[in-house]
Each structure stands twice: as structure tokens, then as C-alpha cells.
């Protein structure tokens, strides 16, 4: 009998920071990525298959939340020593691509609160700059699932965590969920926030001169919403 009961996803390769977790790298997952990476894939398929990956990522992210023991009585009268969910959560998506992950989040966590952050590159300084944020009022009491599909240089994600920390969310209560990460981005992000967990579906080769992830899948938001 194959019981896979490790508490979390696959062991992190030695070269990666300990706060990084990837999904089990199965042939099936690779097939999902092959569909969304292919530039010939239709928008409908891109939506459907990226949603499947996002659902798996959110499920994995939730496993990093604490649970408490809970005993229940089943319909046959037996008792069961289970666990209950503990702690309030919310999602925060980095506009615009991060919004694509909200549907997947809500499929797993009904009516979860979702904050939004808009970060763009400041043309003068070439640094990421916060343009807009709308967050739940009690966000400092919640666990935060930070949503952004692509972790390239890590600039926006780092800025987003800084914003969350300004709102008194402790670093270790943030779980950053993305579909594809570059090794550079992971290194930058984890160096800055070693206590924030990063859940990523796939770690790619690296970045090209325009800071696109290679092989990547192009511009996630563009493919999801526009092209």
C-alpha cells in the first residue's frame, strides 16, 4: 500500500532555501505545465489547465496552516479523532495576474476575503512601487496567501510583502503561492524574507535579458485576460 504521508510536498532540493516548497513533480503535473507553456494553446485551455494547477497550489499552501485536534461523532455513532481548521485566512492578489488565482482559491476556501495590491515599476527609479492597495481591515490577525502566478526577479513580491508587513502581518504568517518561479527570484525573495514560505509549482531554468522566465509561459496576465 502506498501511503504518502509526508506532512508536506516533496523534499526541497539542497540548493533551494528551506522555506521553498514545490508540488510533487509528477508526469501529470508536467503535462499540465506543457499545455499552459505551449504558445499554441487556446485561451480556453489555458484558463482550464492553469486553474487546475492553481487549485493544487492552494491546497498545498493551506497545508502550511495550523490545525487543532477535534473529536467528532459520525452518523453511525462512532467517534473520530480528527482536526479542525484554525486561524482566519485571507488572500492577497498582486494585480493583475494574481487575480487569476482567486477563483482557484475560492473553490477551496469559500467566501474567503481577498485583498488587492497594485505594484508597478517606477519609470524614474526602475524600482517596484506601490500604486494601490486594498486589504481586509483585520489583516494583521489573519494568515495571508499572497498570490502572484510568476516569480521572475522577485521585485513585486518583495514589495508586496513589505506592504503586508507595514500592515502588521508577521512575515511567518505569509504564504506566497506562485505557478512558476525562477531560481534567481527565489533566491532574492528568500534572502529578504526567510520566514515566509513559498509554494511554487515548478522551478524553471532562469531569466532572459528581458527578465522573462525561461522556458516560462510568457505573460500570464496577458494570456489569461487579453490574448
Amino acid at each position: 500500500m502506498v501511503v504518502q504521508n509526508s506532512p508536506s510536498s516533496q523534499a526541497t532540493p539542497a540548493s533551494l532555501p528551506p522555506s521553498v516548497f514545490t508540488l510533487p513533480q509528477t508526469a501529470q503535473l508536467e503535462a499540465l505545465y506543457t499545455i499552459i507553456r505551449d504558445k499554441e494553446t487556446s485561451r480556453g485551455d489555458f484558463l482550464f489547465y492553469s486553474d487546475r494547477i492553481i487549485r493544487l497550489l492552494v491546497e498545498e499552501g493551506l497545508n502550511h496552516l495550523p490545525v487543532v485536534p477535534k473529536t467528532v461523532v459520525t452518523p453511525t455513532g462512532a467517534t473520530y479523532e480528527g482536526v479542525g481548521f484554525e486561524g482566519k485566512i485571507c488572500g492577497v492578489s498582486i494585480l493583475r495576474a494574481g487575480e487569476a488565482m482567486e477563483a482557484g482559491l475560492r473553490e477551496v476556501c469559500r467566501s474567503v476575503r481577498i485583498g488587492k495590491i497594485l505594484i508597478q515599476r517606477d519609470e524614474e527609479t526602475a524600482q517596484p512601487k506601490l500604486f494601490y492597495s486594498k486589504l481586509p481591515q483585520d489583516i494583521e490577525k489573519r494568515y495571508v496567501l499572497l498570490l502572484d502566478p510568476m516569480l521572475a526577479t522577485g521585485g513585486s513580491a518583495i514589495k508586496a510583502v513589505e506592504v503586508l508587513k507595514e500592515h502588521n502581518v508577521p512575515e511567518d504568517r505569509i504564504i506566497f503561492v506562485n505557478l512558476i518561479a525562477s531560481p534567481e527570484g527565489l533566491k532574492n525573495f528568500c534572502a529578504k524574507f526567510p520566514q515566509t514560505r513559498v509554494i511554487t509549482g515548478w522551478i524553471d531554468q532562469g531569466l532572459n535579458e528581458k527578465a522573462y522566465i525561461i522556458p516560462g509561459l510568457g505573460d500570464f496576465g496577458e494570456r489569461r485576460y487579453c490574448s
Partner: protein, 553 residues
């Protein structure tokens, strides 16, 4: 009796020109008396059943007996169909009978034959008009318990149609046709050969009356056809085959003969089912409770990773006080997860692609020809939404299996399978997600897997997806009989317990298959009342209760 299968009446039953199938009217007018409503309704080429189909396999999952095949030959208008239907009627409650008509197997005509046919100059009574090899192979499949897709012949178009009629699961097959005993390959397939002997004058009289009354033909035309084709064929090809018959039945006043035949067939069938029941008793309750827990080393059982979230989901589902909307939400969430897991067991192959940033990438793609779901109703239903979240447009067939109240024996009441399983050549390259809420005794799952194997789906292509498996339960029986079937489940529960049916399971609902989900919510029924009812069921513990009831009612 009712029909298995959802297809409408087939075209060849329509009165139309050409060689006519024997009509119900013949038996009505010339053989009065002794017919029930059912007799008049018994369709050809349709599986008829009085109740569900009991197990046809042993504890190892092997089919034990072929179907019992009866060949009925005789002249045109001799009363073959009448005899066939009377046999069905006389068999009483014997389940699943099909009357297979020779008329379905007329050859596909070329343009020349087609022209002749429309001029009434084609000899439909000659053995060459029948596609005997196809007839024999379809019958051989049905006899061996496999599905068959028999041709449909249209008398209106004088042509075999492109569509076919799917048949599966008959315990008794009655083959009727003027040349039913002509072909030696066919003869070898019969367990009982009957020739309906009828006076030539009587046959001609019936034929004239039928063709004039029902088809508006002239006496002249009927006699012309009779003398040119019907009579020579009868003398040369039909009548001589009577020597192969085990029994010659008179074409009229044949009540005694039919009773004798029915008694013989019934005894044969009862012998078989008695043998089976004894056999299945050995894998019954005792074995389940006293046995060791499921073999931990069994490689084809996959249990989801027991993550905190998964345990949380199960805690919600197991809790009898969980609200219905929460139960549905978490069931859907879990079934999505199970479906994703099940997908990992499909084969994948390499694929090269280019990404929008013009990078090349060698990835993977699914390497299956056909994939479908089959849900064991009703409790398999809660797994369907998850499956559709993973394969949006997947075809999902269904099997309705219910256990008989007094014996607990599973009965196959209905099946509706996707085309990629109905067609044998597709089935062998199909992957099937078989869905059921839990494996308690495993009897329903066992039957469902046998149905898929009968259709030619390879064992290793079946992925059984379920929420809970009882460690001491039928999962071991499944493993022993079908070691290559992959089982994907969310949890393994320690207990399987037999109990009085204290809980409310609505009698008219098909949810009582002891296998498919345990119990609903406790009702006011007392233990004494339940014991008086005498119905015991198996429950998985701690379990989820009756998943079908909690999800749907």
C-alpha cells in the same frame, strides 16, 4: 419485465415491404389464448429482464457460465417468434433474456442487389442473403458474456444501417430465424435447438392474411413471392435443418411443448445460480470480519497523503453535525483532489513545444486514446463533480447496482456505458475511472469491475476512485480477484461492522446497496423495529455515513 438499455425500438420491427419479420399479429389471430400483456410487448434484439442480474462470476472474478443459447428455426410464418416469446413468458422470473432475430443479419447490399431488392426480386430466403460469419461472431460474443453491437437492417431501405444496436448481459439468448439451424458455426453455439414444424398450407394461409392485412399486398403478389423464393428456400434449406433439432415443436397447439422446454431451461439456469450462490457465500460476511486488515504491501492501493488539510476535510465529512452545504462543498473538494491523484496513474509521453517567449521545452502529454468515467449509482455521483473539474468534457457512464434485501446479493439493475466501452475495439484502449463513495463489502465494485472486464477494458486500465476503503472489508477480495486494478482512496478506515438497519434509508431509493455508503441519519426507528424488519447492513467505521443521502437528500 422491462428493458435494459435506453435505445428506442429498432427500425427492423416496423412493418415494411420486403421479407417481413414475423409480426405479433400472426400469433394473435391464429394462436389465440394464453398470452399475457408482456408477451405481446417482448421486443426482439432487446435485453428483457424481470429484475436485476445477479452475479455471474465466482469469487475470483471469473465468469462461471456462458449464456444459455436456444436456436429456433422453422418456416416463414411457422410461429418461431411466437414460440420464442412463449418460452420467455414461461420462464417467469428468470432475469435477462434476449431474442435475437436473424433478420438483423442480412448482408450489406451492393447497388445491383439493392435494385433487385426494391423490385422484390432479391432472394431474402436464401442462406447467401445472411451474413453468417457476423451472425456467429455476435452470438459467440453474447454467449461468452461479452457485449455485442449487432447490425440494424432496415426493410424500408433494404439495407444494413450504419448504426448498430448494443447488447450486453443476457443470461438466456433465443435466436430465431428461418435459417437459424443452417450454419454449422451457429449450431455449435446452441445449447438447445428447436425446429418449429408447421403445415405448409397453414404457413401460406398465415402469410397471405398477414401481407394483405398489414401491407396492402395483393394475393397475386404474395403468391408470386411465395412460389419464387419462399417455398423453394423452405424445401431446400429450412426443412432439411429440422434434423439438427433437439426438439420439434408444432407450429400450433404447442402449449405442452413450450412448457417442457421452459422447464428444461429453468432447471439448467437454476443449477447454475445455485452453484454460484454457494460459491459467493464463501466470500461473505465471515471472511470480512475475521480477516486480516488490508495487505499493507499491496502496491495498487494508493491513499492520499494524509496532510493536515485532508484530515481537516475528513473531520468535516465524518462529523454527523456538519451542515449539508458544508458536506457538499468538502465532498466536491475531496473528489477534485482524488481525481487529480487518479490522473497520475495515466500514461504520459514526451512532447516538444515552444513557449510565447520562443523558448523550446520538452514536456509531457497524456498518452491515452480514450478516457471515461463510470459511476456506480447513487453513491458514485458525489465523485463526478471533482472528475469534471479535472477533465471538463469527460463522458461518465453509470451502473445501478442494488443489493437484494433478503440475500444481500448485488443485482445489476441498469447500465449505460460510454461508447468507448460499448465498442470492444475501443474498450481495450480505454482508461476508466470507476467511481464509488466507499468500499465496504466491495460487492458492487466487484460487479462493476466484472462488467468493465466483460467489455474488454484491461484490468490495468481501470482506476477505481473512492473516498474510503474499509481495511478489513471487500477491498481484499477486490485485490485478490483483480490485482491490476488501481484503487485510489482518501482514507482507510479500520472497521467494517454488520448492524441492523437502524437508519433511514428510503426504500424506493437505489441507495441500499450495502456497499455504497453505509448509513444516512438516524431515525426514530428502534432497534426492535429494525430487527423485526430483519434487514442487516454493513457499515464502515468511523466512516462518513451514507454519502449518497448526505450529498443528495
Amino acid at each position: 419485465m422491462e428493458e435494459v438499455g435506453e435505445q428506442e425500438q429498432t427500425p427492423f420491427l416496423d412493418p415494411s415491404p420486403g421479407r417481413p419479420p414475423l409480426s405479433r399479429a400472426v400469433s394473435n389471430t391464429l394462436n389465440p389464448g394464453g398470452r399475457s400483456e408482456f408477451l405481446l410487448q417482448a421486443k426482439k434484439n432487446t435485453i428483457l429482464k424481470s429484475h436485476g442480474r445477479p452475479p455471474w462470476y465466482d469469487e475470483d472474478g471469473h465468469a462461471v457460465h456462458d449464456a444459455f443459447v436456444i436456436g429456433v428455426a422453422g418456416g416463414s410464418a411457422s410461429g418461431k417468434t411466437y414460440v420464442a416469446r412463449r418460452i420467455v413468458q414461461a420462464l417467469g422470473s428468470i432475469p435477462t433474456v434476449v431474442i435475437l432475430s436473424q433478420d438483423s443479419f442480412y448482408k450489406k447490399h451492393g447497388p445491383e442487389d439493392l435494385e433487385l431488392a426494391f423490385q422484390n426480386r432479391y432472394d431474402f430466403d436464401h442462406p447467401d442473403a445472411i451474413d453468417m460469419p457476423l451472425f456467429a461472431s455476435c452470438l459467440a460474443d453474447l454467449k461468452a458474456g461479452r457485449q455485442s453491437n449487432i447490425p440494424i437492417y432496415s426493410f424500408k431501405e433494404h439495407q444494413r444501417l450504419d448504426e448498430t444496436k448494443y447488447l450486453y448481459g443476457a443470461a438466456i439468448i433465443i435466436v430465431e430465424g428461418i435459417l437459424a439451424l443452417h450454419d454449422p458455426t451457429l449450431r455449435d453455439l446452441y445449447d438447445l435447438k428447436i425446429f418449429v414444424q408447421c403445415d405448409s398450407d397453414l404457413m401460406l394461409a398465415r402469410r397471405i392474411r398477414r401481407d394483405i392485412n398489414e401491407r396492402g399486398r395483393s394475393v397475386e403478389g404474395v403468391l408470386e413471392q411465395y412460389l419464387r423464393y419462399v417455398k423453394p428456400a423452405y424445401d431446400n434449406f429450412v426443412q432439411p435443418t429440422s434434423r439438427y433439432a433437439n426438439i420439434i415443436v408444432p407450429g400450433s397447439d404447442n402449449t405442452v411443448a413450450i412448457e417442457l422446454i421452459a422447464t428444461h431451461v429453468r432447471r439448467k439456469i437454476e443449477d447454475r445460480s445455485r452453484y454460484l450462490r454457494k460459491d459467493l457465500a464463501r466470500i461473505g460476511p465471515l471472511d470480512l470480519t475475521l480477516g486480516n486488515p488490508v495487505d499493507q504491501s499491496f502496491p495498487n492501493l494508493t491513499v492520499l497523503r494524509q496532510t493536515p488539510q485532508l484530515r481537516g476535510i475528513f473531520t468535516m465529512l465524518r462529523n454527523s453535525r456538519t451542515r449539508r452545504e458544508d458536506f457538499i462543498f468538502f465532498t466536491d473538494r475531496l473528489s477534485t483532489f482524488l481525481s487529480e491523484k487518479a490522473m497520475e496513474f495515466l500514461p504520459y509521453k514526451s512532447k516538444n513545444i515552444t513557449t510565447p517567449v520562443e523558448a523550446t521545452y520538452t514536456g509531457k502529454e497524456l498518452a491515452v486514446e480514450h478516457i471515461c468515467g463510470v459511476s456506480i449509482l447513487r453513491s458514485g455521483g458525489p465523485l463526478e463533480r471533482g472528475l469534471r473539474r479535472v477533465i471538463q468534457d469527460i463522458r461518465i457512464g453509470s451502473l445501478l447496482i442494488q443489493s437484494e434485501d433478503n440475500t444481500g446479493e448485488p443485482l445489476l439493475l441498469h447500465l449505460m456505458l460510454p461508447d468507448c466501452i460499448r465498442q470492444r475495439h475501443l474498450a481495450k484502449n480505454s482508461f476508466v475511472f470507476l467511481l464509488d463513495a466507499q468500499v465496504g463489502t466491495g460487492a458492487a465494485a466487484f460487479m462493476a469491475i466484472r462488467v468493465l472486464l466483460d467489455h474488454g477494458v484491461p484490468q490495468e486500465n481501470i482506476i477505481f476512485v473512492t473516498f474510503i476503503v474499509a481495511a478489513c472489508g471487500g477491498v481484499r477480495v477486490l485485490q485478490r480477484a483483480f490485482p491490476k486494478v488501481r484503487i485510489v482512496c482518501g482514507a482507510v478506515d479500520p472497521m467494517l461492522r454488520e448492524t441492523w438497519a437502524l437508519w433511514d434509508t428510503t426504500p424506493q431509493s437505489p441507495s441500499q446497496d450495502g456497499d455504497s455508503g453505509g448509513l444516512g441519519t438516524p431515525t426514530a426507528k428502534t432497534k426492535a423495529e429494525a430487527e423485526a424488519e430483519g434487514r442487516k447492513i454493513w457499515v464502515v467505521e468511523p466512516g462518513i455515513g451514507h454519502i449518497g443521502d448526505r450529498y443528495y437528500l
